[in-house]
Symmetry: C2
Subunit: 402 residues, 2 copies
């Protein structure tokens, strides 16, 4: 049995017409003789509508109840897609996260998939049915509904592809692949035919907005062949796989992320263990810290500066403020008007010229760099948010990515 | 543990303000030291909105997928009510039908509750939590979501009250009890303090719109003390229990039902077994037939006329049309502009004057009677829909119910 997993995002299933388009894609694959498992997100603005309803009754509702509420979004879209496929005369069944056997840990709102019991899906595929699965959700050991957090439908799709030993996992989205930069910012950005997991991982975590980070990690771990394709146009997408072809091009893409907040703990006591305390506090709240900069101690005190995702800013500031005296810090500063701009590419580590070329591009257009962070395959800089699009264009040009 | 089950309908949980009101009711009962289980319907127009979405993609969607879709309505309202109660500082947990252990048969869209595994609810009540349960839904033996059909939340509430051996089941609605007639039609209609299960059953099935038929049957079977109360005003409601107090009043109420369709099979072969065939066909589609009239045979042919609920008309006509020749019938006629008006009361059977008094009331105001049906405790007549309100008022006056 050749199984294929297809994932369609919220904008691809937003209304009856778009559902019809998705149904066509699904049926094409089914008619080619493949067993098709489809993962869907909630329709268009459903999730935002539900969040608004919740905010009206309780702005600080428990995460358990938020998950009960939000998981209805995918349940609505999965049943509507199933109905659309029924209308076209094909056998189909829709399954919620718990019906599809998706078991997660109990971190409501940000749960991680622990295992998938694929028995029910296999039974339905054996009966020649197209199987529609709700993305973004699962069940924990208490038999309670959990959600994987925004973008979690990608993770659902990859996890199902891994669990079902699918021959491919196709992620359909409103762009037709992974580009060297955001085509809305850089006119001559070029679509990549393929890219490695590691490169995609850096691009995803840096705000390329195409695939969720954890889904790429999982694809890499279980060697799932991922393809990013357009929901609307029938053109080849970008293949994400183990090792990208050796190409001359060192830099694969330029990205920017505006959802970055810079937090600084100022005049913190210059004693050991402070950084550990800060970051373990944040880890307990499930907050990922990205770029970290620690100033050289000025005698008794030092500063610690780091970035987090904007969605975690309120929680992070609260946690740190509650523990200011314990941390021996004077104050917290929070800067929201910044962006992280990054270049990504597997060949970078062995080629020191990349960093200087990037900095030169920024210097050429007069952009000041606040912080720098590097890894094996990426270089990121923090700059003023107002300069971010200009920065992306300048770097894209400098590396001749078009 | 004194358990109380409270059920709130869709209009009672329609928005944030009304949810706040419901939360207040629930917390009052909790603060009195009772273990509170709350059953909710979908908010206001949610079900209609979902039906519209489905109709857009597939007007004849499978009932399985319809149930997947519609069950989200209660999941949304239950989580919002739980959040509202959280905000007020009380421990609460919301449970879907399957989480609450509600097992049904597999008749999608009209499922019947087979059993309730109350383990989870008891565990939550033992932890002093208020438990909110989604009405209207359950799980069948295939682990698929089912719904009980419109008004099924009443049945959920009574079934839970029976399964939990609750001391009472309170049905909160937008009227404050059961009246001798619809107060919107009859200005001086009187609220009943109590009424027997049998009488309520006739009133419910005759369109009193207060309680769903099956919920009263179930309450009678398991001797659940039911009370119909107002969601908005704190006044005593109507108690529904085993035997009503002996009262002089023979007739307890007058009702009308406009959702009645009259079907006639004309010139059907006058041979045995025709009625059996017709009604077993309809039973297979889960369609209840109400008043049945068979004409005296005219040699080779006869007519069979009967009423069904309007919601079943399309299916019934289709089934019968598909089998016209097998039934040996000439045609089907379908009349929609009729109403059923009924008087209900336990003392009726032993008092033949009731029927003639009712017919006299109709004669007084010049209303023609098309069909008549009687039982131990009710008399129903089919009349033109345009006359139905006038008929209710005339009968209410004639029996001095005010």
């Amino acid at each position: 049995m050749d199984i294929i997993v297809q994932k369609f995002g919220g904008s691809s299933v937003a209304d009856a017409k778009k559902l019809g388009n998705v149904a066509g894609r699904v049926i094409d694959a089914y008619n080619e003789g493949q067993s098709v498992v489809v993962v869907v997100s909630a329709q268009g603005d459903t999730t935002d509508d539900l969040l608004e309803k919740a905010a009206e009754v309780n702005p600080s509702a428990s995460k358990r109840e938020m998950d009960v509420l939000l998981s209805t979004g995918e349940q609505i879209s999965m049943s509507l897609l199933a109905m659309t496929i029924e209308k076209l005369g094909y056998p189909v069944v829709s399954l919620t996260g718990w019906q599809a056997g998706i078991v997660t840990n109990s971190k409501y709102g940000k749960a991680r998939i622990k295992s998938i019991n694929v028995e029910r899906i296999i039974k339905e595929l054996d009966s020649k049915r197209i199987v529609i699965v709700a993305g973004f959700q699962g069940l924990n050991k208490y038999d309670d509904i959990t959600t994987l957090g925004r973008g979690g439908s990608d993770t659902t799709a990859v996890a199902l592809a891994a669990g079902l030993h699918a021959k491919a996992c196709e992620i359909y989205t409103d762009v037709d692949g992974v580009y060297t930069a955001d085509p809305r910012i850089v006119k001559n950005a070029k679509k990549l035919n393929d890219i490695s997991y590691d490169e995609m991982l850096e691009l995803a975590s840096l705000g390329a907005n195409v695939l969720q980070n954890r889904s790429v990690e999982m694809a890499s771990k279980y060697n799932v062949k991922l393809e990013v394709k357009s929901s609307f146009e029938k053109v080849p997408g970008t293949l994400i796989k183990g090792v990208s072809k050796v190409e001359k091009m060192l830099v694969r893409g330029v990205t920017k992320d505006d959802n970055v907040v810079l937090l600084s703990l100022v005049n913190i006591e210059n004693t050991p263990g402070k950084a550990f305390k800060i970051f373990s506090m944040l880890a307990k709240e499930n907050i990922n810290v990205d770029v970290i900069l620690q100033s050289i101690g000025r005698g008794d005190t030092k500063d610690i500066t780091f970035t987090i995702d904007e969605s975690n800013a309120v929680t992070a500031v609260k946690v740190l403020n509650d523990n200011l005296s314990m941390l021996g810090a004077q104050s917290i500063e929070c800067a929201r008007n910044i962006s992280k701009v990054s270049v990504v590419g597997a060949g970078m580590a062995s080629n020191p010229g990349v960093a200087s070329l990037m900095f030169e591009a920024l210097y050429d257009v007069g952009i000041n760099i606040n912080m720098i962070s590097t890894s094996e395959i990426k270089i990121s800089v923090l700059i003023d948010q107002k300069d971010s699009e200009k920065a992306v264009r300048a770097i894209h040009d400098k590396f001749n990515l078009a």
